[in-house]
């Protein structure tokens, strides 16, 4: 006879059986596909959110693409990629908390942080916990011995700046140069190294002390005295993508007719919306950003990114690389999956085809000239010129 007690008992047994079967299914699936966790610690909120968001979304797009095609084979195992993210809000204290979280999760490879002070702050945590991290920050001390766990994820301004100024001096007749920077550690250090590079080239520096608060919305008062000095080139040192169009527009509206450049990556859509035709001729640095050099895989990446997030961010032309380097290096030496010492060994000799560029370009670690050891991703130094809503290649350089 079926009573309430037996019904409840049957339901409980059924639930337990279902859970057990589900758990069994999950564990067998896990046996089929292991998971490789890659971390991200960087800024995805506030005025600089674009920097970190383009990082995260690049990683998520690439990871989804890899997972969709069955995962990545490293050694004898196939792994699904799981991106673990942490928003440090551009705060070094939170960056430390983020890196500690990555350590607790047993993650050995982390992309970020995006700014100098955050990257410097996480160094002790990364080194103590066997984490290799890929900052988008330029302090040389992070990449020079005795430091060994940080790998610069992009071209530094002290690498691209001299090349840009030299090109503009030789090809556009630039003689007088002015610098303006936000009053924060990254832009100020980028300005200082830019000033040094300009001096080394014999350029006349007409302004180098002008700064602004990063949350400035109207740059006309900032630029009024600089424009009056009539420089041939106005350098927006370390400018955030949110501020670049506002600075360009203010300078042009004040009648400035010279060149404007920066050494940070920018987004064409943001420039188009914020500065319109005033942005034509603006020079910045990107990765595999222009049709002349982008491979079919890069185009596919852009399409997938756009489909996934609604809109592409041109900063991802550079930020697409970090995850690719991590995966390819692990493929080259599977022992590195839980041992960063093995990863470091592999970096010295690593070479793999660059899927995002046309031709026979290679992925490899560089940085010997700047840091004395290979602690930088070899990303193409594509110097772009903005023109009517898109970037055009001005010249392509490289770092050794």
């Amino acid at each position: 006879m079926i009573n309430r007690r037996s019904t409840l008992k049957s339901m409980a047994l059924g639930a337990v059986s279902t859970l057990a079967l589900a758990a069994l299914g999950i564990s067998s699936a896990q046996a089929d596909n292991k998971e490789l966790k890659i971390g991200f610690v960087g800024v995805t909120s506030g005025p600089a959110a674009a920097w970190g968001t383009s990082n995260v979304r690049s990683m998520q797009t690439r990871a989804a693409w890899i997972n969709e095609t069955g995962g990545v084979k490293i050694g004898n195992d196939t792994y699904k990629i799981n991106i673990v993210t942490f928003d440090d809000q551009k705060d070094p204290k939170r960056a430390i908390a983020g890196m500690e979280k990555m350590a607790q999760e047993g993650i050995h490879y982390v992309v970020g942080p995006n700014v100098d002070d955050g990257a410097a702050a996480v160094r002790p945590v990364a080194e103590a916990n066997g984490i290799i991290y890929f900052p988008y920050a330029f302090p040389k001390a992070l990449y020079q011995k005795p430091a060994s766990n940080a790998v610069l994820g992009m071209i530094a301004n002290y690498q691209s700046g001299p090349a840009i100024y030299k090109y503009l001096k030789e090809n556009k007749g630039v003689k007088k140069i002015a610098f303006v920077a936000a009053n924060e550690s990254d832009p100020l250090s980028q300005r200082d190294s830019g000033v040094e590079a300009a001096k080394a080239l014999g350029l006349e520096i007409v302004a180098q002390n002008d700064t602004y608060q990063n949350d400035t919305r109207d740059f006309t008062p900032v630029l009024t005295p600089i424009v009056a000095l009539k420089p041939d080139l106005l350098v927006l040192s370390g400018v955030a993508p949110a501020n670049a169009p506002l600075l360009i527009r203010a300078a042009r509206e004040l009648g400035y007719e010279g060149l404007i450049s920066t050494e940070t990556a920018q987004d064409a859509k943001v420039l188009e919306e914020g500065a319109g035709e005033y942005a034509n001729g603006f020079i910045s640095v990107g990765g595999a950003s222009t049709p002349e050099i982008a491979s079919d895989a890069m185009k596919e990446f852009v399409n997938r990114y756009t489909k996934m997030f609604g809109e592409y961010n041109d900063e991802s032309n550079t930020k697409v690389y970090a995850l690719e380097y991590i995966i390819e290096t692990l493929k080259a030496n599977p022992a590195a999956i839980n041992d960063v010492a093995e990863f470091k060994k592999t970096m010295d000799t690593f070479s793999a085809p660059n899927p995002f560029l046309k031709g026979d370009a290679k992925l490899s670690y560089v940085g010997m000239t700047s840091f004395g050891q290979k602690r930088q991703l070899s990303v193409p130094m594509v110097v772009n010129e903005y023109k009517d809503g898109a970037f055009q290649t001005l010249f392509v350089g490289s770092v050794d």
């Binding site: 995805t44 005025p47 009053n183 109207d218 949110a242 919306e273 500065a275 319109g276």
Partner: protein
């Protein structure tokens, strides 16, 4: 020098308009609305969507920003601030609530509109360049509109029935209630009006400075600065504070440029000295 003064006047007009909504809400309800900057940002994004993306006329976009924010403000007052003010005896409760709404708006705006800086086509093209002054026409239009809005707001508060009721409320809440003023109703209207002003100025300025999801906090801080200079809860004070801050910024960025980013250092130092002498600001007394 003419250019510096022109820059200062333009900045002052836009700052004054930003500060008005904040001071109105403070005057009526003694609430420091930390979400004022986020309301400005939301107004900017609504104008961006309606004017920049959908291609509708700018006036329609501005109306959409104002009306949406007015509705949001009214709902916030009715369901959040009114409840907290009624139940809590501690003034910090409303401050905490305002801070929480600011964080909430930040997150929602980031989710809805993304992380990128956004801008819209200029509403008027061309640049005025004469007598040593360079000023784009769209800034002149926005500056003029800001002054018109400020004048309309002051006149509305001075002569309309609703304005008089709100001024009475600001002067003495209990006395106003005893005289038959419907406190709840006019508090809600006041909050809606303050939020609407934030939305309208956000929509207006998106044509000049664009908008991005992370600027709400800094906008609020600047608005508080203006209100502190002029005197909290005083309309004339907010206007004066806006123009003083705009002029100090413009002059400082030119005169002190050789010393790096010391303009705001000087402004904050001056503010500290000023507040120690006049803790209630320039016009520091309740409205009226």
């Amino acid at each position: 020098m003419e250019q510096v003064i022109a820059n200062g006047l333009y900045l002052g007009a836009q700052y004054a308009l930003i500060a008005l909504g904040l001071t109105l809400i403070f005057a009526l309800m003694n609430v420091l609305n930390f979400a004022h900057g986020q309301m400005y940002v939301l107004g900017g994004f609504i104008t961006y969507t309606v004017y920049g993306q959908l291609g509708l006329p700018f006036v329609v976009a501005l109306l959409a920003s104002g009306i949406t924010l007015a509705v949001i403000g009214a709902l916030m007052e009715k369901f959040l601030f009114r409840t907290v003010i009624r139940r809590s005896h501690r003034e910090e409760s409303t401050m905490l609530l305002a801070a929480a709404t600011a964080f909430f708006f930040d997150a929602v705006i980031l989710l809805l509109f993304g992380e990128k800086q956004r801008g819209v086509p200029k509403i008027v093209k061309g640049v005025f360049n004469d007598a040593g002054i360079i000023m784009p026409y769209d800034r002149m239009v926005v500056g003029a509109l800001a002054i018109v809005f400020i004048a309309a707001f002051v006149l509305y508060m001075q002569y309309s029935r609703v304005g008089r009721a709100m001024r009475a409320l600001a002067q003495d809440r209990v006395a106003a209630q005893l005289m038959g003023v419907r406190v709840d109703r006019y508090s809600m209207i006041g909050f809606a009006l303050g939020a609407m002003l934030a939305g309208v100025v956000g929509g207006l300025l998106v044509t000049i400075t664009g908008v991005n999801s992370g600027i709400g906090g800094p906008i609020s801080i600047k608005a508080f600065l203006m209100v502190m200079i002029g005197g909290a809860g005083v309309v004339g004070g907010a206007i004066a504070g806006g123009f003083i801050l705009g002029m100090m910024e413009s002059v400082g960025l030119t005169a002190l440029r050789e010393y790096g980013d010391v303009t705001y250092l000087v402004i904050f130092a001056a503010l500290m000295v000023f507040l120690s002498i006049r803790p209630n600001g320039l016009m520091g007394k309740p409205w009226g």
